[in-house]
């Protein structure tokens, strides 16, 4: 155990810090759940790519930096510290990218990866269906083989980024006789393919952060299938593992929120002892999440694997996020109800916006009830019903 950074790690930090200081936009970008904001974020992804910072853990030959997980954590720390924009490209960089590297053919890797890296293709997820949310094995969207194409029919829902994204990846039932998690395949498709209709879903904050995707005789080339026909579930589980595991929510995000919360405490001239404790606990828990991630990253670098603790991560950060924003709402006093547009809204409305977004944390990427089942059954070995 040595909790000092190496000289190389410190140099890496200095490099990204310097680059960000020069490049992070002076004014915050608009939300990528708006059309204009999406375009701004896409441009930011290109800027990141120009500095080879868009996917630091990817191999050098793909335009990445082959960073270790510790370096990735340093990158994230500096990124959040600098107040850089959220990553509109997250689905591609952290989910599809690693999956492609794992199970994609060389041809697929060459076709898709560079365009993800450069931000040319922004990817949407197409997992859930109206009756396949927590129960993802209930997927019914069909993909019938017809020559060298699949013909896809059905509906997806809760597709993040899908409103303005270029492409989508997801699971489809390629074997009509199959049930549950058998007979599914993992397909990739541009969203401008004929027969695809994207219907935005308006969310809590009034914006359209996700969408329904309707497939009506949509032809997807067999070459766009990732992994074997019928092996989609396994591919998807690996992807979901990346998601829940380490990279969906880096600790830096919550450390930044905890820092801002302490600043808000001072700004509001608060002297409420219970709220002071809540602020302190917010910091403690964000630190704990960071320490846990450093420990996991160290272990993975030595060849370890991430298991059911990805479920403990999901539960912990999503509930921490709610607590942090609840505390902020209490610190805001009578101003807690003001939205971004109100002149008296604190910190330009970030806290209320964040509070709303935090509501989704215990739900997406597998509800926390499902995660707790997984923890109890797979990590603790408790009996199934």
């Amino acid at each position: 155990m040595d909790l000092r950074y190496t000289d190389a790690e410190r140099a890496f930090r200095a490099e990204i810090r310097e680059w960000l200081a020069k490049h992070v936009p002076a004014r915050p970008l608009k939300s990528f759940d708006t059309e204009e904001g999406f375009a701004e974020h896409r441009a930011w992804e290109r800027t990141l790519y120009s500095g080879r910072w868009s996917m630091v853990t990817w191999p050098r030959e793909l335009g990445g930096r082959g960073c270790s997980l510790i370096e990735w954590l340093i990158f994230e720390e500096e990124y959040w510290r600098a107040g850089a924009p959220l990553r509109v490209n997250q689905n591609g960089v952290f989910l599809l990218g690693p999956t492609l590297m794992d199970v994609g053919t060389p041809e697929q890797q060459a076709r898709f990866l560079p365009r993800i890296a450069s931000g040319e293709d922004i990817w949407a997820q197409a997992w859930s269906e109206p009756n396949a949310g927590s129960d993802m094995a209930a997927i019914r969207c069909s993909a019938r083989l017809d020559g060298d194409h699949y013909v896809v029919n059905g509906q997806k829902i809760w597709s993040t980024r899908a409103v303005w994204a270029d492409c989508a990846f997801g699971l489809f039932r390629t074997d009509p006789q199959s049930s549950r998690h058998h007979g599914l395949s993992f397909l990739l498709t541009p969203l401008d393919t004929p027969g695809i209709t994207v219907r935005p879903i308006r969310q809590l904050n009034g914006q359209t952060g996700f969408a329904e995707i309707f497939f009506d005789d949509v032809r997807i080339p067999v070459a766009n299938r990732l992994g074997q026909d019928g092996a989609g579930w396994q591919v998807a589980m690996a992807t979901a593992g990346f998601e829940r595991g380490l990279m969906l929510r880096s600790p830096a995000r919550f450390q930044e929120t905890a820092r801002a919360l302490a600043a808000l405490y001072h700004q509001q001239g608060c002297h409420d002892g219970a709220l002071a404790d809540d602020v302190a606990r917010g910091w403690m828990d964000a630190e704990a999440y960071a320490l846990s991630t450093y420990m996991t990253a160290s272990r993975l670098q030595k060849g370890g694997h991430i298991g059911a603790e990805s479920s403990t991560n999901k539960v912990f950060w999503s509930e921490l996020d709610i607590r942090l924003h609840e505390t902020a709402q209490r610190l805001a006093g009578p101003f807690a109800e003001l939205t971004a547009g109100a002149p008296l809204a604190l910190d330009h409305g970030r806290w209320l916006e964040g509070y709303m977004f935090a509501q989704s944390g215990p739900i997406y990427a597998g509800t926390n009830e499902i995660q707790r089942n997984i923890i109890a059954e797979r990590m603790l070995g408790m009996p199934r019903a």
């Binding site: 949310g133 129960d135 809760w158 006093g333 008296l344 215990p362 739900i363």
Partner: protein, 352 residues
């Protein structure tokens, strides 16, 4: 000692509930959220026709001369249905304050206008710079330097401050101190009582909102299927909603008791109101959180009604004194060196 409502109070609440079920739907609320001004003159007219605008107005001014305990069940219904109108602020809180003033032409005229629905009165208080509905009110009751003013809204410069609940139309106000609008030289006691009444009204609405969100979640959990069965069979979801039921069950009598305390001028009234606001806020916030969790991703959409009531709950948690303010009042009471705590003190002041 009788801690039940009178039969006519319950019957009135039933009647108001039937009225609101028909007239205030989530569709109306959504429509008003999109309408400039955000208010329905029709709805206000109907409320007046039902006699609700004049509930607190003394009978000699055309009202029903009712009190805080009469209001409390109605206010809960207003919360349950999310009434997008300043009924409680104008007809309970402001009218209650005006009724306390010595008789005058302005007082009589204003109370009559409140009763017949032709006038609306807004009110600012010391614990927030935000004044709800200042723009469409005829008069705004405001305090300055210890004196109370009834300022025509035309004499006020306003800045809109958008609330997460678009049914709440908030403004910061700037106004000059014009002596002709002064209606009382000693504002402190009146304003404190109005503040408490406002906090009580918010508490009652929060009870209603909590119940509404609980009901929405129960319905959703019965309709929505996963793994081939209604999601409501999951023990985790059952316990989420049972927790809400428990929280609500033990917030309700606290709010009712605060109404009785205000109505009877109980000496520790402020503590009872603060207790009520904290308990009702926390019940509504837990209902929002757990109903959201039961709804899953659907709860996060604009389309589901849950979001309407959730935002109303968030807003009322902040309004009329936030939890820190009200908790501090309770804390000061409990930790006073001479505090009368322990068994037998619950209705102590009522005994005197």
């Amino acid at each position: 000692m009788d801690f039940t409502f009178a039969e006519d109070q319950v019957l009135l609440a039933d009647a108001v509930r039937r009225f609101l079920v028909n007239e205030v739907s989530p569709e109306l609320i959504r429509e008003l959220w999109n309408r400039p001004g955000g208010r329905s003159q029709d709805l206000w007219k109907q409320l007046a026709e039902q006699g609700l605008t004049g509930l607190s107005v003394p009978t000699e001014h055309g009202g029903m001369g009712m009190g805080d305990v009469d209001w409390i069940l109605l206010a809960r219904e207003c919360g349950y249905h999310g009434v997008p109108a300043p009924l409680l602020e104008s007809s309970w809180v402001a009218a209650g304050l005006l009724a306390q003033l010595p008789p005058s032409e302005l007082r009589g005229r204003t109370l009559e206008g409140i009763a017949d629905g032709s006038l609306r009165v807004a009110l600012g208080h010391a614990h927030s710079p935000l004044v709800a509905d200042a723009d469409q009110a005829n008069l705004v009751l405001l305090e300055r330097d210890g004196r109370l003013f009834a300022v025509p809204s035309s004499r006020i410069a306003m800045t809109a401050q958008a609330s997460i609940d678009p049914s709440r139309r908030l403004f910061t106000v700037q106004w000059d101190c014009e002596p002709q609008y002064c209606i009382a030289e000693q504002a402190a006691g009146l304003m404190e009582q109005a503040f408490q009444r406002g906090a009580l009204a918010a508490s009652a609405q929060l009870l209603g909102l909590a119940q509404r969100m609980l009901d929405l979640a129960i319905d959703y959990s019965a309709q929505r299927k996963q793994f081939g069965k209604p999601i409501g069979i999951n023990q985790a979801l059952k316990h989420h909603l049972a927790d809400v039921a428990v929280k609500l069950e033990f917030a309700r009598p606290v709010v009712f008791r605060a109404a009785h305390a205000i109505a009877n001028g109980a000496p520790e009234c402020a503590v009872h109101v603060s207790h009520a606001k904290v308990a009702a806020s926390e019940a509504a916030l837990l209902a929002a959180r757990n109903a959201m969790q039961v709804h899953g991703a659907m709860g996060y959409t604009w389309e589901m009604d849950l979001q309407i009531f959730m935002k109303m709950a968030w807003a009322l948690d902040a309004a009329w004194g936030d939890r820190s303010l009200h908790l501090a009042r309770v804390r000061a009471h409990v930790l006073a060196q001479d505090a009368a705590l322990g068994p037998g003190c619950t209705f102590k002041e009522e005994q005197q």
